[in-house]
């Protein structure tokens, strides 16, 4: 198929449609409004349902309802709205329900600003709501990836019966790039046949719930969830750029990953042996990739658009195998390759 030139937000909406998403629930918030706006015309045209909910809380609960019916559905928002969705996400995780949640995040805490930020990393990868659960988190770095990973998000949500989050920011959401589209596929109804609700018909009634009061059942369920998260480790994805002969590896995700790539190209031209590891799955975190590089004698630093969040996962992955520095770009400021040059050089030189 030929390429189209679209915003990251539109790419996400198109990715959802092409993955067989037939229900969208959302509430307006900047900078992700292109998603509901696109869906409001495209989804009914494709035979699906678009609902502008009364709140992010309601939208996420509609997602829960659609997920229980085994339907591919999505909600999207930005940071403050994502906080409101956490209640339903926790219930979905506790009820083994699939669903795709998009966070085109912005600066915080509180109302913050509408500019890009990676301040929601912890919220995304550590659960976000109450209880001991995780969601799978995919972080696109290009508009093509925003499209591809949204399609993947639906497959993963149903494969693991778990919420999956796309974590982008105002840069990924608002920038435009060429995108090569895939053939649209309809949802395979078999993927939810064994558990979805549709009326009991000729079988026994099913109950989907997260309440587990009988002795031992909650513990057992938590064990089951942890097994699921362990199994999801096989979904780890990351990109490496010029790591082979690098002394220092910059670890950065999403928009910051690609901006850092420009800095690394420039530093390479100056003869500095630096490379990039861009995690594409944030949960599961590509720990193995970091460990392998550490065993080859590399040093690390994370660059984040926050005051230091992913660095904790990187250090946990490395577990003392190699040092891992950190540079945090403040929210409210647009990051450029120039901003990272000094911090990378400083880290690079500190080890020589």
């Amino acid at each position: 198929m030929s390429k189209i030139f679209v915003k990251g937000n539109e790419a996400i909406a198109r990715g959802a449609l092409d993955a067989g998403c037939s229900c969208y629930f959302g509430y307006p918030i900047t900078p992700q409004n292109d998603i509901p706006e696109f869906m409001s015309t495209a989804l009914p045209k494709a035979g699906g349902q678009f609902v502008q909910a009364e709140s992010e809380i309601a939208a996420a609960n509609m997602l829960l309802g659609a997920g229980a019916c085994g339907i591919r559905a999505m909600t999207s928002s930005s940071s403050p709205g994502i906080s409101l969705k956490q209640e339903a996400i926790s219930y979905m995780a506790g009820s083994d329900l699939p669903g795709v949640i998009v966070n085109i995040s912005r600066g915080g805490p509180g109302l913050g600003d509408i500019g890009p930020s990676q301040g929601d990393y912890f919220q995304a990868v550590k659960g976000g709501g109450h209880g001991d659960y995780r969601q799978l988190v995919l972080a696109p770095g290009t508009v093509q990836e925003a499209y591809d990973l949204t399609m993947l998000a639906f497959d993963l949500a149903f494969a693991y019966r778990n919420p999956v989050m796309i974590l982008g920011d105002a840069i990924i959401g608002q920038m435009m790039e060429p995108v090569r589209l895939h053939r649209r596929k309809a949802q395979d109804s078999a993927e939810s046949e064994s558990w979805r609700l549709e009326g009991f018909g000729k079988r026994m009634p099913r109950v989907i719930k997260s309440l587990r009061l009988a002795e031992g059942t909650l513990g057992k369920h938590n064990e089951h969830l942890q097994q699921k998260y362990t199994a999801a480790r096989r979904e780890c994805r990351h990109e490496e750029f010029m790591t082979e002969d690098a002394e220092l590896i910059v670890v950065a995700f999403g928009s910051i990953g690609r901006i850092a790539k420009s800095t690394i190209r420039r530093l390479r031209q100056q003869g500095h042996r630096v490379g990039l590891l861009r995690p594409i799955t944030l949960f599961p975190f590509p720990s193995r990739a970091l460990q392998d590089l550490a065993e080859n004698g590399k040093r690390f630093m994370t660059i984040e658009h926050n005051m230091g969040q992913m660095v904790e996962d990187a250090r946990l992955a490395l577990c003392g195998l190699a040092p891992c520095g950190f540079y945090g770009h403040l929210p409210g400021n647009l990051p450029t390759p120039d901003d990272f040059e000094g911090p990378i050089l400083k880290e690079f030189n500190s080890g020589t």
Binding site: F5, M176, E177, K261, S262, R265, G332, N333, L334, P337
Partner: protein
């Protein structure tokens, strides 16, 4: 050496700056180049100017946001004052000399090109074509994309209800390129 160009395109809201950026970007895509376009958010948004950044390369593009661009299209004076100091040495600065005094350019450090895009657009019968005149001039200066590719991409970027104006836009693009050819025979 690989092909690489980046541009900040800036002007008043309403001057069609975003359309210039998307047209340049789509033309690059149609020319099988890698390209990114981003309307700039944040503090840069304030002060009545609109701007976007386009990056074009034959290699995978890293940052879509550029602090120190290789080229600048300044459609008004505030845009020149804001972004000219950031343009890299020997970079291209194209100004709309209908609204900006050419002697405000930092000629010598950068390569300045002055095109009275509003006047040329007015001569063509529609002031709103000024952005197309400027883009025609820009692709002629930088040579990053063939003018024909830009003309061919017009129909993909301009909404269908305005397709009766495709001819006007084509002539505006050509007029901008012609101005550079005539005025800067060696530097174009």
């Amino acid at each position: 050496m690989s092909i690489y160009q980046d541009a900040i395109i800036a002007g008043f809201g309403g001057q069609g700056v975003m359309l210039m950026g998307t047209l340049l970007a789509v033309s690059a895509m149609e020319s099988d180049m890698e390209v990114t376009y981003i309307p700039v958010y944040g503090p840069e948004m304030r002060g009545g100017t609109a701007n976007c950044t386009v990056v074009i390369s034959d290699e995978e593009i890293g940052s879509p946001i550029i602090r120190r661009p290789l080229s600048l299209i300044a459609m008004n004076r505030p845009s020149l004052e804001k972004f000219q100091p950031l343009v890299r040495d020997n970079g291209v600065v194209l100004i709309n000399s209908s609204l900006v005094e050419p002697d405000l350019t930092d000629n010598g450090r950068i390569r300045a090109f002055s095109v009275p895009v509003n006047d040329i657009a007015a001569e063509l019968g529609n002031l709103r074509l000024a952005n197309m005149v400027a883009l025609g001039a820009y692709v002629r200066i930088t040579g990053i994309i063939a003018l024909e590719a830009v003309i061919k991409s017009l129909s993909r970027v301009i909404p269908e209800r305005y397709h009766h104006l495709l001819g006007h836009n084509t002539r505006a693009l050509e007029a901008g390129a012609a101005e550079i050819r005539d005025k800067y025979p060696s530097g174009g």
